[in-house]
């Protein structure tokens, strides 16, 4: 279908944009576009809740984190572009092509089930998350607490 074709094309272009652009800011914008494309693909794959999370948290919050991080290092932009250009050429440019080829081969090799859609759309995620996966929720809380301590410890101005 056309919508899917456009989404997949957008995803691949955005990923290439993120990886190949020499300017850091452009890379982050590419990443946000990848997030949006993945999120829309999730809608197409019947996963609306996960898609909402992806759209709000990843495309929104994480981009903000990146923008803040870049704004700290703004005056290094020119130097960064120069080193990145040099490194990019010096290092393995052939690698993505090799990996992409391998990935496609793998998918082709494993294609035996043909990835048919399941007839049954499955249960409700809310029931499962609140009813069957309590431990994951506890784990989330603990990880968030760890992140809060990380903010307290790491963002503190160094006093020694």
């Amino acid at each position: 279908m056309t919508v899917d074709l456009i989404l997949l094309g957008l995803l691949v272009l955005a990923a290439l944009w993120a990886v190949l652009s020499v300017r850091l800011m452009m890379s982050v914008i590419g990443l946000a576009a990848v997030s949006v494309a993945v999120s829309l693909l999730m809608f197409r794959l019947d996963a609306p809740y996960a898609a909402m999370f992806e759209l709000s948290v990843c495309a929104g919050l994480i981009s903000v984190i990146f923008f803040v991080a870049i704004s700290f290092t703004k005056r290094l932009t020119a130097e960064d572009i120069r080193t990145h250009r040099k490194e990019r050429l010096r290092k393995t440019v052939w690698l993505p092509f090799l990996l992409a080829g391998l990935a496609i081969l793998l998918v082709a090799r494993l294609k035996s089930p043909g990835f048919a859609p399941a007839p049954d759309p499955g249960g409700d995620v809310r029931t499962l998350l609140w009813g069957g996966r309590h431990l994951d929720l506890i784990g989330q809380i603990v990880t968030l607490l760890a992140g809060a301590f990380g903010v307290v410890v790491l963002f503190k101005e160094k006093n020694r």
Binding site: P113, G139, L154
Partner: protein, 477 residues
């Protein structure tokens, strides 16, 4: 009782951070931490000795926690409690600032919850979630002093750990494609009778690759010496003693021992990586001049023995692997406490600028000797028995070459440790006759307690074998 091991520290953690009057949280956190860890060790010992939990879960009807516990879980919980308590005790002396101690205690609690949760979970994805909790706490702890080296070590660990989790989640995705959910039982069933067994196989390999990175096996070990070497003293005790073991190595034991079926190519892979890790770690350790980095490479080498035993995949080998994990946790946290004590007195870790500390720090020297003899597998210390079990299991299963190679590596271990002991304590050197004094009680007591523990494990081996290791042998399916 199982859910309490996760919920009690979580509630404690929240209580500490309520807006009490100045200093109340700080004052309480240390004592509460030690008390909880002692209770956890006691509960685990009780469960091992009596074969059942001390009391039924009071929250059983209230929360539907899907925890599961078996012999391996109890050994892990005991090890976590022992190492975390030593690390907490060392932190008392290592951090002078009251606030720093408080943050350390909080992050240690997070880490303990993460490891307890992982040990109690019966589900591959829940395993990943709790691994992440423990790892995030470690990233912050490594960079705790916000010096350049620590920040770089932490960032490197973060990158490698995230790559590892991507691999693990890819594995989970393949298991789902093979028709399984994420619980151990479902994955096991899918491996045996799936319409697409190749998906289960790829999933198993991807998950395992992630665990190799988390455990610091040799081709993926780049982050480990930096993380251990740059972390503050008590943090490297925690990290080297238990965090990488309770995440990567425990995951490997679970996956190969009680989730994946026998796959010949996986056994070969594990044995090869095990042997390579043993030798690469030991040879790299010989060349180090930094005390903590040398211990880190020694860690890689010792984890190699565990993976080698997992590749053998007999009940005895599995018991040997778990026993070696326990022993390794004890003697490595002993040696890292020792390194922390030396570092606190000298202010650096460079072994070339040490030497002659024997006269000034006799107790530290004694505990270092016990730790290194146990690592090298000298009877009657604990490390001897676990190596004997592993070698015996390898020999019985017909892997004679691997057994001989592993035995020969013990000599290398002894070589680099004796060189270390000579350079730090015995030989004449920079510090001969200097004004350095013995490390304080907060450094000495954990070391001596751990040294006593490794000796006790060795001397009480028949007892340990009966109560700790016999239940584990039945886990293999």
């Amino acid at each position: 009782m199982q859910s309490l091991l996760i919920l009690v520290p979580l509630v404690c953690l929240m209580l500490f951070n309520l807006p009490w009057k100045r200093g109340v949280g700080q004052a309480v956190s240390f004592g509460a931490g030690l008390a909880f860890l002692a209770a956890q060790a006691a509960a685990a010992l009780w469960a091992m000795l009596s074969g059942g939990e001390p009391f039924a879960d009071p929250l059983a009807g209230f929360l539907v926690f899907k925890t599961s516990a078996d012999g391996l879980t109890w050994v892990m919980l005991l090890t976590i409690a022992v190492v975390a308590a030593s690390s907490l005790a060392v932190s008392r002396a290592a951090f002078t600032d009251e606030k720093d101690r408080f943050y350390f205690a909080n992050l240690l609690f997070v880490s303990v919850i993460g490891m307890n949760g992982a040990a109690l979970s019966g589900d591959l994805f829940t395993l990943y979630v709790f691994f992440e909790a423990a790892s995030v706490a470690s990233f912050i702890l490594i960079a705790f002093r916000r010096g350049m080296a620590g920040l770089e070590g932490a960032f490197k660990y973060l990158v490698m750990s995230t790559v590892a989790t991507v691999l693990m989640l890819t594995g989970v995705g393949f298991f789902m494609l093979a028709g399984a959910g994420t619980s151990f039982a479902e994955v096991r069933a899918a491996c045996l009778q799936s319409a697409h067994p190749e998906f289960a196989r790829v999933g198993g390999l991807a998950f395992m690759a992630g665990l190799f990175i988390k455990g610091g096996m040799v081709p993926f070990h780049g982050w480990l010496p930096d993380a251990y070497g740059t972390a503050p003293g008590p943090v490297s005790v925690l990290l080297a003693g238990i965090v990488t073991k309770a995440t990567g190595v425990y995951g490997l034991i679970r996956l190969t021992g009680s989730v994946l079926p026998m796959m010949p190519e996986v056994q070969t892979l594990l044995m090869t990586l095990g042997i390579v890790s043993i030798y690469a770690g030991a040879l790299a350790a010989i060349g180090q001049s930094d005390y903590k980095r040398m211990l880190a490479y020694s860690s890689i080498s010792q984890v190699g023995y565990i993976v080698l035993a997992l590749g053998c995949r007999t009940p005895l080998a599995l018991a040997g692997a778990v026993f070696h994990l326990l022993n390794h946790a004890v003697f490595k946290s002993l040696l890292f406490s020792n390194a922390a004590a030396v570092e606190s007195r000298l202010g650096h870790n460079d072994m070339n600028r040490m030497g002659g500390l024997q006269a000034q720090m006799p107790w530290s020297s004694l505990s270092a000797v016990i730790g290194l003899l146990s690592t090298a597998g000298i009877p009657p210390l604990g490390g001897f028995w676990s190596k004997v079990i592993i070698l015996l299991a390898l020999w019985q299963a017909g892997f004679h070459a691997a057994a001989v190679l592993a035995l020969a590596a013990s000599l290398l271990t002894l070589a680099y440790f004796l060189s270390m002991q000579r350079r730090v304590f015995f030989a004449k050197g920079t510090e001969t006759g200097s004004a350095v004094t013995e490390a304080g009680a907060a450094y000495l007591w954990p070391q001596l307690a751990l040294a006593g523990l490794t000796a006790a494990i060795g001397i009480g081996f028949p007892f340990v074998y009966r109560f700790l290791l016999t239940p584990i042998q039945q886990l293999l399916w």
